[in-house]
């Protein structure tokens, strides 16, 4: 197929999306998983059936590796038969623009004239601060500095295992503009209980509308956060700059400064 034909074909159905392996529209998907079966013909067929049930056509087992204790690891390939129609998708995302740190600084300094106060914590029994630290601490994540590195944020990082009550008390004491809650551990949906409880406490204290309330963590999506009564949610792949951009714009917007 000539390159120009390829381009043309993409033009016709560009709202219908298939995974791209090594040519347009091939639908190739690479999967890997473990089954509680010994390595052998039955395991291979079970693996292919797993892929069929994932709506993958022509399933192939590229490799099966016995892991011991009658478990086997499979690497497989298949083709997604039915394309995704992107015109039919609904996407929830915060309404803000990603802006660079210099712009964030300028925006806040010029329009607010004081630092935005941010209080953050990993709440409940959660001892994981990697995500929270990546967003708040100077060091940041993947070369992107955390909020501490900005002169326009005053950051209070309360660390891990902070009870919701303490977080709220500290936020009031600091007159926080924003509260960042990190939840990593999700066994038994403990994060949902925790996150909801925080909203309830803030509402009872009459502080819910005074702060921008943000949740973050590997299982958090913006849609989930909205559903739980938060203003925004940040999941995997979030960089400190995303949170900085959002906070600057949202805090200013609420004061009709943006």
């Amino acid at each position: 197929m000539k390159p120009e034909m390829n381009v043309e074909m993409r033009g016709e159905n560009k709202h219908l999306i298939l995974p791209y392996g090594d040519h347009h529209g091939d639908g190739v998907v690479q999967v890997s998983f473990t089954l509680p079966l010994p390595d052998g013909p039955l395991g291979d067929e079970a693996a292919r059936q797993v892929m069929r049930q994932m709506s993958l056509a022509d399933p192939q087992v590229a490799e099966s590796v016995p892991l011991g204790e009658n478990y086997t690891f499979y690497v497989g390939y298949g083709k997604l038969a039915r394309p995704v129609d992107v015109t039919k998708l609904k996407v929830a995302r915060p309404l803000w623009d990603k802006i660079d740190p210099v712009q964030v600084e300028r925006l806040v300094n010029e329009r607010l004239g004081r630092p935005i106060v941010v209080v953050g914590a990993a709440t409940g029994s959660d001892a994981h601060t990697v995500g929270l630290d990546a967003i708040l601490n100077y060091k940041g994540f993947a070369g992107d500095h955390g909020l501490e590195a900005y002169s326009c944020f005053k950051v209070v990082n309360m660390g891990s295992q902070v009870p919701n009550e303490e977080l709220v008390a500290r936020a009031k004491e600091e007159e926080a503009d924003a509260i960042l809650v990190s939840q990593v551990v999700t066994q038994g949906n403990v994060h949902l209980t925790n996150l909801t409880n925080l909203v309830e406490i803030l509402e009872a204290e009459g502080w819910r509308d005074r702060v921008v309330l943000v949740a973050g963590g590997p299982r958090i999506t913006h849609a989930l956060a909205l559903e739980l009564g938060y203003d925004a949610g940040f999941g995997p792949m979030t960089r400190p700059q995303d949170v900085a951009s959002y906070l600057a714009q949202e805090v200013l917007r609420r004061k009709s400064l943006y």
């Binding site: 890997s32 998983f33 473990t34 590796v65 892991l67 011991g68 204790e69 478990y71 690891f73 029994s125 959660d126 001892a127 994981h128 990697v130 630290d133 601490n137 100077y138 060091k139 994540f141 993947a142 070369g143 660390g159 891990s160 295992q161 990593v184 551990v185 066994q187 038994g188 403990v190 590997p218 995997p236 792949m237």
Partner: protein, 519 residues
């Protein structure tokens, strides 16, 4: 042979300064004990169970002592007195204290000499059990020797001890030499040790004596099958350091994460509390033949790796001397390190090598533990796997003793079955394929690696001078380590520290000091 040209006089000075820092702390805290140390005495006297309310009997006894206002005497003489007066075992006494049938305050007092003698006898029986476990390990190591170096170290963390056991056996069969059971998040802040086999945890599995026993038994079976002794790791850190050390000693756990500095910095545990606990817990570890692992591999997760690399080394020197003063031999001091250099920096691989080689040469007889960089990993598991592969090579080339096997899914979740398999396979490849590479290479004199190592050593030396001058507590307040500041009277657990009274007696500590030959 890959070797750094280090200035021996600087290394010597680092050791002298670090020893002085550790000694001063020990002297300052020598008049203190803690509730968990007293509970450890109870456990070594054989008190293992829980009250009908679910509270561990060791806690019941110490709480009872507190209610009588006699904590300053230590638990040993009071418990020994009760055993002698009632003709009961320590466990039986504890059960009756729990049901309020026995009150230490209303028992006849046998006198100091007699109660101490009884206490010594009970402590002797506990320590004999630990000696037995140690001998068992030595025999098993002889029957099922471990040949590969570095040892490949992986974690299991399902929260359910039964699932952990299956995964641990699989990992061992795939080539892992060391299995660590990660603790449930939050356990470090519990001022008691949970009891029994547990099947639910958060981000890990509770450290309990029964869980230790179950896992060790499974690994013994697997060791026999493989003809290679598989070591078990747990954590005696947090608020129950010495108790967990004792439980591990009684169940033949082989390695223990044990580091007050880690608790102070990353769990906000009170510095006095955990340094007192650490001293005693390390004596127990020393006596049990357990290898400790320190937590410096976490420092550079919070500060810049290139500019703060020396704080890792400075802390290792201090940790080494704290360990030594508690009777641990070099071969039991598994100093941890990770240099966490951003892989996008030019020559980052060389900087990682410099750090790893430096630690190896500074502590030549210690089983140093290398952790590949974790903080730069993202959800791109394929690139993460490639990074791990290069650090597997660093570990082998620099002669590390214990290799914490990097997981491709580090930034995503606790390892899935196949993640562990792929990572072990990659690490085992480097270990076999590059086995003698270290002997075949030499370093460019005055090159990047050597200069970086010398720079870290120089800066560690000046940091140690600074800390020695102001004392460890002030250094911690100033946020010298990991960029985190901790106040001496801040953090969790200070209420569990007490000043020993004139009648204080701890027969376990007395026996340990004598048998370990320490002050």
């Amino acid at each position: 042979m890959l070797r750094l040209d280090l200035d021996a006089s600087k290394v010597r000075e680092c050791h002298e300064l670090a020893e002085s820092i550790a000694r001063k702390v020990n002297e300052e805290l020598s008049g203190r004990s803690t509730v968990t140390i007293e509970r450890t005495v109870a456990r070594l006297f054989g008190v293992e169970g829980v009250a009908p309310s679910g509270v561990p009997l060791a806690n019941v006894l110490v709480d009872h002592l507190i209610s009588l206002g006699r904590l300053e005497d230590g638990l040993a003489i009071h418990l020994a007195n009760a055993c002698a007066a009632l003709g009961l075992s320590p466990e039986e006494v504890a059960e009756k204290v729990a049901t309020k049938e026995v009150d230490f305050g209303s028992l006849p007092w046998l006198g100091v000499e007699e109660s101490r003698a009884k206490a010594r006898e009970l402590a002797g029986a506990g320590l004999a059990k630990i000696r037995e476990r140690r001998k068992e390990r030595e025999e098993l190591l002889e029957a099922y020797p471990v040949h590969g170096k570095p040892w490949l170290y992986v974690i299991v963390a399902t929260g359910d001890i039964c699932e952990d056991i299956i995964q641990a056996r699989m990992a061992a069969a795939q080539g892992a030499d060391v299995i660590a059971v990660i603790r449930s998040t939050g356990q470090s802040l519990l001022d008691y040790v949970p009891h029994g086999a547990t099947r639910e945890g958060y981000g890990g599995t509770y450290a309990t004596q029964e869980n230790f026993r179950l896992m060790r038994a499974a690994l013994d079976e697997e060791s026999k099958r493989l003809g290679r002794y598989v070591r078990l790791v747990n954590y005696c850190s947090g608020l129950c350091m010495p108790e967990i050390a004792a439980m591990g000693a009684l169940e033949r756990v082989d390695l223990m994460l044990n580091d007050a500095m880690y608790g102070i910095l990353f769990r906000d545990i009170n510095a006095e509390r955990t340094l007192v606990d650490q001293r005693f817990s390390r004596m127990v570890n020393a006596y049990a033949g357990i290898i400790i692992n320190t937590g410096e591999d976490n420092y550079l997760t919070t500060v810049d790796a290139v500019s703060a690399g020396h704080s890792v080394v400075a802390s290792q020197f201090i940790n080494y001397h704290f360990a030594h003063l508690s009777g641990l031999k070099d071969e039991q001091i598994g100093l941890g390190h990770a240099f966490q250099i951003d892989p996008n920096i030019e020559d980052s691989f060389l900087l990682e090598m410099a750090g790893a080689l430096l630690v190896r040469e500074l502590f030549p007889s210690c089983p140093v533990k290398f952790m590949p960089p974790t903080v730069h990993k993202t959800g791109d598991i394929f690139s993460a796997h490639a990074l791990d592969a290069s650090f597997n090579l660093v570990s082998v080339m620099t002669g590390q003793s214990i290799h914490l096997v990097g997981m491709l899914t580090e930034a995503v979740h606790t390892p899935l079955l196949m993640d562990r398999y792929l990572s072990i396979r990659a690490a085992a490849y480097a270990r076999t394929a590059a086995k003698r590479l270290r002997c075949e290479l030499s370093l460019e004199k005055g090159g990047i690696i050597e200069r970086r190592a010398q720079e870290i050593l120089d800066r560690a030396l000046s940091l140690l001078r600074d800390v020695e001058g102001k004392g460890l507590f002030r250094a911690l307040e100033e946020g010298v380590f990991a960029g985190i500041s901790r106040k001496r009277d801040g953090g969790k657990g200070l209420e569990g520290v007490f000043t020993k009274g004139p009648n204080y007696y701890n027969p376990v500590e007395e026996a340990l000091k004598e048998q370990l030959g320490i002050e």
